[in-house]
Symmetry: C2
Subunit: 391 residues, 2 copies
């Protein structure tokens, strides 16, 4: 009786969500385990439409919820089966690409034991991958691979040894005389130095671009942007953020370390900085003030450069060889205006076009059918990398 | 009333365990967050005696248990407080070093959201560190650091690109002409290629040994030993294990890749193989059959070499420069006899001494007050590395 009631309740909740829009399409029963599951784990599963099905053993639990729901939001309430597992399917499909999520089991936050873990929202979260139609560009393929190196660099300003991950391109070791340009690539709020490799597949994206001859080989440096002490989304948050601790680590400690320890081309024509979300915010705060170091700038869902911004920086027009700004299409659904909570909104496309009309190398890229999420940023890197270090 | 009853129940359970031995010592209230907690997480905590205190928010749960208990076994049942958190302290101290663990929340297996994750027992587990009196040898210190490189190598035998982690010693990049010996270092059953760096701190152990001039700098290669498809501890398990798939990957694919991609000294005098637990079992199956490749062999809680074993291998006495066998002291509490379940027991100390009397370079090391756990193996690496590649 209890079980029938629980199922009825769950079913009506799902039906309620579906009837709030047009009649829901039939869910295709072609579910496969997510590519981000732990070895041997059958669940969670994804179907060809992007629906996600969960299965969590917790025989004595009172309630189990998943944070992913319709379009990735709203959550999915699971129902308990006779065998003690809690199951359910999202009410609608999720966008292509990577999504963080977590479980709430009897009011406590836990991860889905079926998935690998990914650092975001200041915790190691569960993650799911909805296969994208263009997934080949970040697939693990039979091409020469670069290495992702964990380095520990001394940081007197923070009194410790700090960690960075350094992507060295294929054949870096063997081309013992060659020197390479460097991209400093930052993560977003709540993430850390593992994000671009783990969630972003930056190394595989570069391996594939280089194998296809679409990008010049270069080094990528990924360190923690010291982003996570501010409160997310709060109006005071970003405005109160002090860039100086991270700027000191980056400019005074990490860049000199990288130039000492790796075979880099250590001049601004061969150094880029980019970041996603708050990492873009940091890039915009740092790079234009250090045009003696950087000539390529990228903001991925992380701000925009107006002509005013450019004119405030002496030498910007002459020295910056690329101003790249990107967003996911869903982020531009508010009349094309973007901006962090509590801060002024701007029109990034209009800004990019103004820079272009003013004669700057300004590139604006929109990732189709994705939001403020990692597929937007994988695609942004795919678009950005081929433009770097060409002149 | 309910809460008082629950606390009484938990207290009597703890008291019951304590009175089963001599009167329990006073638990010192000097608990500190474990060094393996996620950033910002206060719990779990460890005190100076090695007791562990847990705190898990799950306000509607019926029961929450932790797999760590007295001496690391038996589990700890947590009690619910008014604020909806489940708390408890282990009934006794745990051994120094690293311990895997998991939660059971209402019958479901979940990780403690307070800790980082570590791959063991074929899942990403929670982990806790009991500070060891000799922890300095694996501490992150202000010395030159090597890099831990993720490499992807082609494996036709398994139809994919496989992953290995490669430790390159400090200044590997800058000593552009220098070539280095290589240690192939395997993990145990249930673990994977992340174990030696994540749980083992192999890179920090080597950084510190090299900085102190105690070890020659060398490269360490850590890949997945293809161990996890057999059932743990079952009598048929190890006996039914087929070494050939992994042997093919190691000998035909990984070693040639490493010799191509890194500046190695590619001869047996400069190549070692060692492993922990099932990784030692694999080492014993492979290395003696390939003395054209390896001259140094190490088994960490992973078997023993008898004089019979040695005499069965043509050329062993002449070609093998070091036979290193180690165990944790607690593993030798059964009259000094060891052996996998269902297989013949042996006396590793007696065996090591027999090899020594026969004129081989035979080293036997026992880690004090540790069992079949990672501090035994960190210490084993610390003892083994300085003996390598000296002749």
């Amino acid at each position: 009786m209890k079980r029938a009631f629980a199922i009825l309740l769950a079913a009506s909740a799902l039906a309620g969500e579906a009837s709030a829009q047009e009649a829901a399409p039939t869910v295709k029963e072609d579910f496969k385990p997510s590519s981000l599951n732990q070895p041997g784990q059958e669940y969670p599963q994804v179907n060809s439409q992007g629906y996600v099905r969960f299965r969590i053993p917790a025989p004595e639990a009172r309630n189990v919820k998943v944070s992913l729901g319709l379009g990735g939001r709203g959550g999915t309430v699971l129902a308990k089966a006779d065998d003690g597992t809690w199951t359910g399917t999202t009410a609608g499909p999720l966008d292509e690409g990577f999504h963080y999520y977590r479980l709430t089991v009897d009011g406590g936050t836990f991860n889905d034991p079926g998935t690998l873990n990914f650092y975001g929202s200041t915790r190691w979260e569960s993650g799911i991958e909805i296969p994208a139609h263009d997934a080949e560009f970040y697939a693990l393929r039979a091409v020469p691979h670069g290495n992702v190196q964990q380095v520990l660099f001394p940081s007197p300003s923070t009194g410790t040894q700090r960690r960075a991950f350094v992507y060295t391109p294929p054949n870096y070791e063997k081309n013992a005389g060659a020197r390479f340009p460097v991209l400093y690539l930052q993560h977003g709020w709540g993430e850390d130095e593992t994000a671009w490799a783990n969630q972003g597949h930056a190394n595989l994206i570069m391996d594939n671009l280089i194998a296809a001859g679409k990008s010049r080989p270069f080094i990528i440096v990924m360190t923690y942007g010291m982003t996570n002490d501010i409160r997310p989304g709060s109006p005071g948050g970003l405005a109160s953020f002090d860039i100086r601790p991270f700027q000191t680590v980056l400019m005074d400690e990490l860049i000199p370390f990288i130039d000492r320890e790796f075979r880099t081309l250590a001049d601004p024509r061969h150094r880029a900085m980019a970041g996603l979300s708050m990492g873009g915010f940091e890039t915009k705060l740092i790079a234009p003030t250090r045009l003696d170091k950087f000539a390529y700038i990228g903001l991925f869902s992380g701000g925009t450069f107006s002509l005013d911004d450019v004119d405030k920086v002496a030498g910007y027009r002459d020295k910056v060889k690329l101003t790249f700004v990107s967003f996911g299409s869903r982020e531009l659904e508010n009349g094309g205006m973007v901006g962090p909570p509590g801060m002024q909104k701007a029109d990034p496309r209009a800004n990019a076009e103004a820079l272009k009309r003013a004669g700057l190398n300004s590139v604006f890229y929109v990732s189709p059918n994705t939001g403020h999420e990692f597929l937007t940023w994988r695609r942004s890197l795919r678009e950005f990398a081929p433009l770097l270090f060409r002149d």
